[in-house]
């Protein structure tokens, strides 16, 4: 139905696309460590060596784990398998709450203690009016 040239050009474009997809896939695969924005407490636990470099740890703020005093906030980040203690001095974002997502940027003291220099709140994909939320909690 189509001419030989059309078929040839189609083949040409498909080959380029295939090669590029493969290249990008391999590049992303090898750079995975740099693509992730944060590591979970379990990943921190399984680190073979600790660095003094700035890293990010993310997960949920454990229920009833936040303790605040005049110049410090302490809380626990959990991924429901492992946990890590975080200390931070400074203002926390509005959405920082127990039972909600959080990303802490800072340095590891050891596998259980993390000293944060920046706290980011990570919110989830659920959007609803307050009344609906209240109704859901009643059930």
């Amino acid at each position: 139905m189509y001419g030989r040239k059309v078929k040839l050009r189609f083949l040409f474009v498909s080959t380029i696309l295939l090669i590029l997809i493969l290249t990008v896939f391999l590049v992303l695969k090898s750079l995975e460590e740099n693509v992730v924005y944060f590591q979970s407490p379990s990943e921190i636990k399984s680190l073979t060596e600790l660095t003094n470099n700035k890293i990010r740890v993310g997960g949920m703020v454990k229920k009833n784990s936040i303790s605040m005093n005049s110049n410090e906030v302490n809380f626990i980040i959990t991924d429901f398998k492992n946990e890590i203690n975080v200390t931070y001095s400074g203002a926390v974002p509005n959405l920082f709450e127990e039972g909600k997502g959080v990303v802490a940027e800072g340095v590891l003291k050891d596998r259980n203690f993390f000293s944060a220099t920046k706290i980011l709140a990570k919110h989830d994909e659920n959007y609803m009016p307050p009344e609906v939320k209240a109704a859901l909690e009643e059930n």
Binding site: V24, F38, N94, L120, D124, E125, N126, Y127
Partner: protein, 235 residues
Amino acid sequence: MFKLLEPNKIFQITSKAPKYVLFLFVVVLSVGLVEALILSPEDYKQSDAVRIMYVHVPAAWISLGIFSSITVLSISGFIFKNKNFFLISKSLAPSGFVFNIIALVTGSIWGKPTWGTWWAWDARITSMLILALFYALYLISWRIYENEEKVFKISTFITILGIINVPIIKYSVDWWNTLHQPASINILSKSTIHSSMLYPLLIMTAAFALFSLLIFLMKYNTELIKIKNKGLDRL
């Protein structure tokens, strides 16, 4: 069918349609803004900050949709040697680029009160920035190359490079740990956004799509006038 693709016939449509599209755009945008800013409820967690979503999400959708369209059109234009497809792509690109920038800027404004930062180098945000760079490359390629054959090939190549980034943008939030939350609207499973917030979002998306259509028609009209001035009667 192919009679319709004659420049004169298309020109008749593209020169008349904009005013109707503009009217429709103003109506839909007004309804959308009233719904999004006044009638829709505040979020249980983010309260009024959630209203940025009604601009941010449609802008991101449209910019991804337009980039996908210009890729398909460019590749088809290259394979079937159809000049018209390239002109449609060229006319679509500017509004896609603008919506991409809008998505980045509104995302930044939304990030500050919710996450606590204006910018994060996470996979979703970075890949969206890369899309903006591809848009810029695409638009620049039309400016710097005089030779038509050359610009068709180069712009097609840029879209092929850029299209690989589109699924990466979509799935970045599922494949890697990102600060950006996963998608709320799913075709296959239940959406995690309440219907009272979903409808304003869809109306705003329709408004932005109409705006893109309007800009497209005006740009495309200009391209057709250029062809007319060259005294060519076919594409």
